[in-house]
Amino acid sequence: MNANRYRRGIDIGLSFLSIGLLLGVWQALVYLHVYRFAYIPSLPEVVDAGRDYVFSSDFVSDAVASTLRVLAAWGAAAIIAIPLGLAIGWNKTFSDLSLPTLELLRPIPPIAWIPAGILFFPNVEGSVVFICFVGAFFPILLNTINGVKQIEQTHFRAARCLGAGQREVFRDVVVRGAMPSIIVGLALGMGIAWMALVAAEMIAGQYGLGYMIWRAYSLAQYPVIIVGMVAIGLIGAGMSACIRLFGRKLTPWQSQ
């Protein structure tokens, strides 16, 4: 018990050290004018800018807009990709029918969809959410498919000899067996949705954290750029933590 607490203390200490090293190296590079680091804002400048910006109504509306866009896109991707992935992983015919198309679309990066998205959707909101959706969709889909394919054949056989019909096999073997992999896909999808979001907002956005970074660059408010980056990092990390927590609740057999 004591050893555990000791270990935990070390872990927390190392986490702080990790962040401290990042900040320290950054400051050293800026103050020593290494290469072009003189152009990069220093920590005090960023803290100053951050204080002003974080308490402004702009920040709240930007952060809320970005978060809602990501959640909408990620949620829609999950709702479509998980059932689709389960069907592809489980059913050979369905797999043969849909995989070639999906394999063709998969290598196209979400950012390449930006012009097409802007053309297709009547408003900025639609195109930005669509691009995030594309980013989140494939990791969720592919991990769901893999999750089903990784289920041991003996589990299907055991279920069938224990009287399970198609419905029970789907509910008790396919869905639950694939769950750990689905959660990995959801976490990856969330990360890629944020990447796609920032790119889409820079190009198409009227507000949002990505747009705010770009606007700060245009207006030469360099410390604000860093503030925006940190905000994205923190919100993204928070969401990943939520998915991990939710994932542990859904797969209690894995945490022991």
Partner: protein, 273 residues
């Protein structure tokens, strides 16, 4: 768990090939109702295929395979399999695994759980109902798996090298355990193994299979008294049966020298006990 087992298993000239490779060639033998029959043969000789056919996961290409006189037409809870590697669902607790079959048959959860608790206690797993399989030891997993099958009162139990991978000690305990459960029951049991001692110790009859494609080579009756005791392993009677099965397998292996590797494996395995 009192089962009125009257199910016999009959293979009549059963043949099966996978991708043009013949695995079973006109294999004929029967498993009398209520008997404990072991299948031994070189590894890869098609023993698992026989289990899969009886379980209904696969169909014979030719010949007739009947259980209680009816041809097998797919899996069912009257014939349950305990697999080589654990087939417990890792995502379900022990008790949920055990009641899975009953729930599929429409039992109320509370009744099913009551039965499962009773059976798990009998199988030495009281207190482990809410644990996941990964939290159980290898021996406990096998017992939980046995409970998951037995709760359905199957007529035929199929063991596909079910104790492979267990350490010698646990394996010995599981054999004792199995004897405790099956001696005096009337469940028809087919037990596939590569270990001759295990086969003789547990079974009423040992079916010796040839190398691939498998044909039935010999049926050796084990006339050791029941209940079986560990001391019997060193009795002259046991030795004679062992020698006879081994001779039968050696004759088989000598037909094809390249398969001697397999035989060597079996010999070294049989010295282990």
């Amino acid at each position: 768990m009192s089962v009125t087992g009257t199910s016999d298993v009959v293979l009549d000239r059963v043949s099966k090939s996978y991708a043009t490779v013949p695995v079973l060639d006109q294999c004929t033998f029967d498993v009398p109702a209520g008997s404990f029959t072991a299948l031994v043969g070189p590894s890869g000789c098609g023993k698992s295929t026989i289990i899969n056919l009886i379980a209904g996961y696969d169909w014979p290409d030719a010949g007739r395979l009947t259980v209680s006189g009816r041809p097998v037409s797919g899996p069912g809870w009257d014939r349950l399999v305990v697999f080589q590697e654990t087939a417990l669902f890792p995502w379900m607790t022990t008790i949920d695994n055990v009641i899975f079959g009953l729930q599929n048959r429409g039992f109320v959860r509370r009744d099913a759980e009551g039965q499962a608790r009773e059976l798990l206690a009998k199988f030495g797993l009281a207190g482990f109902e809410r644990k996941y399989p990964s939290q159980l030891s290898g021996g406990m997993q096998r017992r939980a798996e046995l409970a998951r099958a037995m709760i359905n009162s199957p007529e035929v139990m199929l063991f596909d090298e079910a104790f492979r991978g267990l350490d010698t000690m646990t394996r010995g305990l599981m054999q004792e355990y199995l004897l405790g459960v099956f001696e005096g029951s009337s469940i028809t049991t087919v037990f596939v193994t590569t270990e001759i001692e295990e086969a003789i110790y547990l079974a009423d009859r040992v079916v010796v299979l040839s190398g691939r494609p498998a044909i039935m080579k010999e049926i050796v009756t084990v006339d050791l008294p029941r209940p079986r005791k560990l001391e019997m392993l060193s009795s002259p009677q046991f030795g004679a049966i062992h020698e006879r099965i081994l001779a039968s397998l050696i004759a088989e292996a000598e037909k094809d020298f390249s398969e001697n590797v397999v035989l060597t494996e079996m010999l070294s395995a049989s010295r282990g006990l």
